[in-house]
Symmetry: C2
Subunit: 387 residues, 2 copies
């Protein structure tokens, strides 16, 4: 009960602080739907909350209409545009959380790396890091200045949300950011970053330290700006062996979490392809672990008990199927997790651009309705918390 | 002991059959180094055998010299060239097994699909499977006719090996072949093949059945032609959820293995990204499981006991490191597996094209020397088998 109250109090304080500190015209309403935040903390909920990775994305015709007029980076850097597409899935699909439209690579760009988005290839750094000299050139990040456009987008989105649902901010993990910064673009073999960690581990650690500082500052600024939760994406965790994951990735993630933890905002960790040592991930300080679709969410819950909440983990490709198949596969995930709070429904990866929005709407509506029965017991015990 | 003797007898019979049935000039010598075959069957060995996935590949200047003169498909289809590059790592690196130079996609091509190799993209099927009609057009494979060039390459390679080391043949799993045949090329999202299994599972199963028949016929023909072991690559296993892996992949792999098992040749199953249900993989009928480098080979051995041998699983990127680091990482794998037979050293994935051959030679020499102490006990017990 103490946890509930102090959490509510802190949320109230952060709302007050946010309202006081913001420019005129920005008002922050009380959260009308806090299911997502309660599920992050394993507090009782009336139903399982749902949001979708890449929910503000190309599968929506409304997103494509904006994207047709502006390139991807302009959308990231123009708060009005970022806000517009962030709000689209709230209005159109009815998810239980918004996630600010941005990219994990805004951090390296703000540290001084030229960043381009190439059609058909994805993000590209034309001058990747190749030496200690390149590492020295990376500037110390002041997110309120260097990434002011994200903070402005957060403020504007909060206004647009008017407290309907919580807002999530995110960052790439130091390892995943380093991989991009050294490879220069996506890679099949990751030979350049692997070459770095095996041949010059000292330089690798120096870079990871610098990136971890930047990510910490960035996430802290996002929280100050008003996000209600943060997610750390370790997209390339799965290319490391178990020992290397600990040394070059998880250690830095733990550090970031311990530093932002004081803010009492839920932290979600999504480390893709890390099926081993779930207990170690659960001990990272994160409140929630995101799972890809090769995991059995029920078995993971059994293994971890009540240490963390779990987010996921429907195969995104199920959304290509007919409506009945979508429902039956979604039901399997609900059943596997079982009764009680601590589950945030999501896909096991971002939604593909060629999914029909109706299919996602079917999924979201189904979870909202079907999941009620998994929370009857919690609510009968009268432990429901309202903030 | 019965297993040993019947195995030896069968090997002898197959050698006799092979020698009798072959054209003049082809002679098959007794195997001088059968460490690999013994390790596949968990029979005592003097040291841990080692071979390397993609050992006949671009990292070797000698391979690139051939490749400069001929395109990839010509190399596959010209027995003399396929033999030349298959033998290179035996002569140059000293591995304990040869693997016939070929490609998993020779099966779909032989079933009638036009197949091209595009520089920078990889294999491409310009007319991928899109309908039941396309499926009907796939012809029933007669490997001794349609893939005669592989059989000829096997015969010629056996001659070139003169019994120095065993020869491995391989096939893609039905699921992995289907993925290529439906996507038309490599994919990030695999949306087309996923669309197929979720929207027309009947057609998917009809195709998988057809491909499984072809793979069975192909592997059987390879065994007749003289390969001493076969490996089934399920490269895209990891994109399936657990239930889907069982339904669309493992079921067909089991079927193939049960049909070729009568040949008493060791079967290696390398299903990438399938970290769950190791017990189910071990129950597939395979003698050996290949592991990628995110697994802990010691923990897997503990979990599976003596059900199967294990192959793997050094991170290929370790070969970018200095010699001492290569040795220390290799030693970790030997230590993790521990004492006794049942380990075939390999990388957790194919060797990258930009590794220096000296680095691989360092690894191979180190394993040959260092692993002796892990087999002292077996040999003291006098259970050594010679075939």
């Amino acid at each position: 009960m103490i946890a509930v109250d102090s959490y509510a109090l802190l949320l109230l304080l952060s709302i007050l602080k946010y309202t006081i500190g913001k420019p005129k015209g920005v008002t922050v309403a009380k959260l009308q739907n806090d299911l997502f935040l309660r599920a992050c903390k394993r507090l009782p909920v009336e139903r399982t909350p749902i949001w979708i990775m890449r929910q503000a994305g190309r599968y929506l015709p409304e997103y494509r209409a904006v994207r047709q007029r502006y390139d991807f980076l302009t959308m990231c850097k123009t708060p009005e545009l970022a806000t517009e597409v962030t709000l689209q899935p709230i209005d159109l699909i009815g998810v239980d959380a918004a996630i600010i439209f941005s990219d994990i690579l805004v951090i390296p760009e703000a540290m001084g790396m030229q960043f381009e988005m190439h059609e058909g290839i994805g993000p590209v750094f034309p001058h990747p890091i190749r030496s200690g000299n390149d590492a020295d050139k990376l500037k110390k990040l002041d997110p309120t200045v260097d990434l002011k456009y994200v903070m402005d987008a957060v403020a504007l989105t909060k206004k647009g949300l008017s407290g309907r649902v919580p807002l999530i901010g995110f960052s790439g993990s130091p390892w995943t950011l380093l991989s991009y910064m050294v490879e220069g673009q996506g890679s099949k073999t990751f030979s350049k970053v692997k070459f770095l960690i095996y041949n010059d581990p000292k330089l690798a650690h120096r870079l990871l330290d610098k990136i971890a500082d930047a990510a910490t500052a960035y996430l802290s600024a996002l929280i100050e700006a008003g996000v209600n939760a943060v997610q750390i994406f370790d997209t390339w965790a799965g290319i490391l062996s178990q020992d290397d994951f600990e040394e070059f990735s998880l250690g830095y993630i733990r550090k970031i979490i311990s530093r932002i933890k004081k803010k009492e905002i839920p932290v979600i960790l999504f480390a893709k392809g890390v099926h081993y040592q779930l207990n170690r991930l659960a001990g990272s300080g994160a409140d929630v672990l995101g799972l890809d679709w090769t995991m059995n969410i029920g078995e993971v819950r059994k293994e971890l008990g009540d240490k963390v909440s779990l987010q996921g983990n429907l195969d995104p490709a199920v959304l290509y199927a007919g409506h009945e198949k979508i429902k039956s596969e979604a039901k399997k995930i609900l059943q596997a997790f079982g009764k009680g709070s601590g589950h945030i429904f999501n896909l096991g990866h971002g939604i593909p651009p060629d999914v029909r929005p109706e299919s996602l709407k079917i999924l979201v509506d189904f979870i909202k309705e079907e999941s009620v029965s998994y929370h009857m017991d919690d609510n009968q015990h009268g432990e429901k918390s309202r903030v």
